[in-house]
């Protein structure tokens, strides 16, 4: 292979260990972020159902605010604000909170999709409100949310390159760093893209199968 070639297979293989290390960070951040998004999203969805305007009005404003501003800006802002917190932690917390606002909508839809007859049967069996939620409504609602959860996990996974801006060495930054040292950006970033695809495409097929099964 001559030096003018835009593609060097040797470089493509050489960058792989760095990228796999970065991919591992990316996956960790996605998993931790989605745990926050799932738990916090459920709390937001439940809080929005309370009749108290004192709770729902500010919460709705906060949720809209988070949704309507770019996650990149949020990441950098929080990173600069909380200098003592490592970028890694800022990364999954900010992504988690950002996606929690979307997950709350998924939960809302999931809760509303539980038929009215389920609530009525719970009343007829004299179940308490708390028990009705825990034993009847949430198990069915959460089942309804699994495809949404999967889709947002893929979407969060693909947004982890933003963490480049707060110096977290996830997969994209690993590729960038390699490119900066070797000038082989094309090989590095192509491999980054392929690795993203290798994870998100099978996951999306899984989610689609889940959607079909739950439909």
């Amino acid at each position: 292979m001559n030096d003018d070639s835009i593609w060097d297979w040797e470089r493509a293989w050489e960058v792989l260990p760095d990228l796999l290390a970065g991919l591992w960070v990316t996956i960790q951040i996605t998993v931790l972020g989605m745990i926050i998004a799932s738990v916090l999203g459920l709390f937001i969805a439940l809080a929005m159902r309370t009749p108290s305007k004192w709770l729902t009005t500010p919460l709705k404003f906060l949720v809209d605010f988070i949704r309507m501003t770019p996650v990149l800006v949020q990441l950098v802002f929080v990173y600069l604000l909380l200098t003592a917190v490592p970028g890694y932690v800022v990364g999954f917390v900010v992504l988690g909170v950002h996606y929690a606002t979307y997950m709350s909508e998924v939960y809302r839809a999931g809760i509303e999709a539980v038929p009215k007859g389920q609530w009525e049967a719970a009343t007829a069996l004299n179940m308490s409100k708390g028990r009705t939620w825990r034993a009847v409504i949430l198990p069915q609602a959460i089942r309804n949310t699994l495809p949404g959860l999967g889709n947002y996990a893929i979407s969060m996974f693909k947004e982890t390159p933003f963490l480049f801006a707060i110096s977290v060495t996830e997969m994209y930054k690993a590729g960038q760093d390699y490119g900066a040292n070797t000038f082989s950006y094309i090989e590095a970033l192509t491999m980054v893209g392929l690795l993203f695809l290798a994870v998100s495409y099978p996951t999306s097929l899984l989610v689609r199968r889940m959607e079909i099964r739950l439909a």
Binding site: G117, E120, T123, A124, S128, V136
Partner: protein
């Protein structure tokens, strides 16, 4: 407060009003059901029959009047002159005496057959799990569903689901059982199985029953009294024999002619 003996009716409606927006469904309805009686409510759709059951199960809120269960105010009461809602905590005490079976079964799909049945005996009545399971198995036997004990509810046919729903309601040991068109969603050939189960319950227990049904033959067999409703009012009240063979009210005659195809 509870008085289940003597002549305190199991259910009493006192001047009950129910409106949905501008639509008045029940307007000052009065009637009572003595302990252990089986009452069938008939009448055209929109006449308020199902609303009566739903009010009794607190699935709808009263607009006015009182419902008494064994003489106890259930959903609302008068404090002096003021008509107020009974707090949920006290409603739950009375609600334990009332059970309901729905047209659409409404089994919990995230639980097995057995889990559906023992849920409230354990978590509401405070029975031990072992005791609740023993009771549930006895009830499953009674409704002919013993083999399906550990099945998911979506593996059951409509008729089977409804039999489980009946067992689930009975597991709460209700004094009053509300049956809301329980065979209407079933295939015709399965209706008889469910009616057989209900007939046996009627014969072997002294549960007070309120039925809304289009199965006139069944109503005739099991009920002590039939109430004909039209526009939220009782237009005729009689024993089943009289009601089905020799009704006196013109509206009843028209209705029965329409449903019996006579």
């Amino acid at each position: 407060m509870t008085n289940t003996s003597g002549d305190v009716p199991a259910i009493e409606f006192r001047d009950v009003t129910k409106r949905f927006g501008d639509n008045v469904v029940l307007d000052g309805l009065n009637f009572s059901v003595p302990q252990g009686q089986r009452i069938t409510l008939i009448g055209p759709s929109g006449s308020g029959k199902t609303t009566i059951l739903r009010l009794l199960m607190t699935l709808e809120e009263l607009s006015g009047g009182l419902i008494l269960i064994d003489g106890d105010p259930y959903t609302h009461e008068y404090k002096g002159e003021k008509w107020v809602a009974v707090p949920e905590k006290r409603r739950r005490v009375v609600r334990n005496r009332v059970g309901m079976v729905f047209q659409q079964f409404n089994l919990f799909p995230n639980m097995t057959v057995l889990e559906n049945i023992i849920e409230s005996p354990v978590h509401v009545l405070g029975k031990s799990k072992a005791e609740a399971i023993a009771d549930a198995e006895r009830l499953l036997e009674k409704v002919g569903m013993s083999e399906k004990r550990d099945f998911n509810t979506n593996q059951l046919s409509g008729g089977q689901q409804q039999r489980v729903a009946i067992a689930r309601a009975l597991a709460m040991d209700p004094e009053i059982l509300l049956l809301d068109e329980v065979t209407s969603a079933l295939d015709p050939e399965i209706v008889a199985d469910v009616l057989d189960v209900l007939r046996e319950i009627a014969e072997t227990t002294d549960i007070t029953m309120l039925l809304v049904t289009h199965e006139m033959q069944f109503a005739r067999e099991v009920s002590d009294r039939v109430l004909m409703f039209d526009k939220g009012q009782i237009v005729e009240e009689a024993d089943p024999e009289t009601m089905f063979t020799n009704p006196s009210h013109e509206r009843t005659k028209e209705f029965l002619k329409a449903v019996l195809g006579g």
